[in-house]
Subunit: 140 residues, 2 copies
DNA sequence: AAATTTGCTTTCAAAATGCAAGTGCAAATA
DNA sequence: TATTTGCACTTGCATTTTGAAAGCAAATTT
């Protein structure tokens, strides 16, 4: 009864994040600077509406892509971070980056980062995923 | 005046296909079996509505991801195929496939294909892109 | 000549979005 | 202690997008 009808992703797995730019933006933000607060997401360049952010965070949590935890300094704050499943989205984000770099103007700093990654893509992805996974453990 | 406000993609390039599952599905279909007709897309498993298909095909064409051309056999039919820019989305679709395979049930045949690709991802991507680009030239 | 196929367009109700304002709680300040 | 501020949301509502079905014109088949 509470079973939601999910959209199909382009490789036959059902998941709402496909077809939602805001979800991808949240994942990208987290990959770049791990624990983020609600406010951090709102501050991002793309100006997500606060109600949309709330629904997307909830959806990502339900799908096991992110987790919520308490901020060490303040109970008023909430920390969001990626799960292993979320971290594994890195290769996709990286490939989107390469593609965008090839066909669109992107800012210099991002261009430089991508150029570095290109030198050893597989290694970069592997070590970054390892690092992010270790950081999860740290926060427990 | 006709300047549409475009959504931002997660890597700072503006493009509507990010955040739209139907666009991704169209690209996936084309990567799997190059020229497709309007009807082919409608026949796909995911059941895109015909009006949505029309707007997405138009959008993808405007963004230089696909092109329309005449069917050699019939004036009633229209062929859609990827441009080089569209073909270059392959690495992204492949990575989405790997991720989905890791975390969701996908059907056996796709699983098998992905397993094969995994053995030599870089080579597979390179040769497939080359092949698809050659096929574009053929159709001219 | 009539029926069917093909590639769309139109209509319209239902759902999703996006902006602004509001709420509740915790922490900082007066 | 009282009050303001900051943070994480929620609510209301107008606008936009979606999705299902029906319609349509041109081309093709029967």
């Amino acid at each position: 009864m509470d079973q939601k009808k999910r959209s199909n992703c382009p490789v036959s797995c059902s998941l709402d994040i496909w077809g939602d730019k805001w979800s991808l933006l949240i994942v990208r933000d987290l990959l770049e600077s791990q624990p983020c607060t609600y406010g951090d997401f709102l501050k991002a360049e793309e100006k997500i509406a606060t109600n949309i952010l709330a629904t997307r965070l909830q959806m990502l949590e339900e799908n096991g892509i992110i987790t919520k935890s308490e901020h060490p300094d303040s109970k008023a704050k909430v920390l969001y971070q990626l799960t292993s499943k979320g971290i594994d989205l890195l290769p996709i984000i990286v490939e989107i980056g390469f593609w965008a770099d090839k066909y669109y103007e992107i800012d210099k700093s991002k261009k430089a980062v991508l150029k570095e990654i290109k030198k050893g893509k597989e290694l970069f992805v592997k070590t970054t995923i390892q690092r992010l996974n270790k950081e999860i453990v740290k926060n427990k």
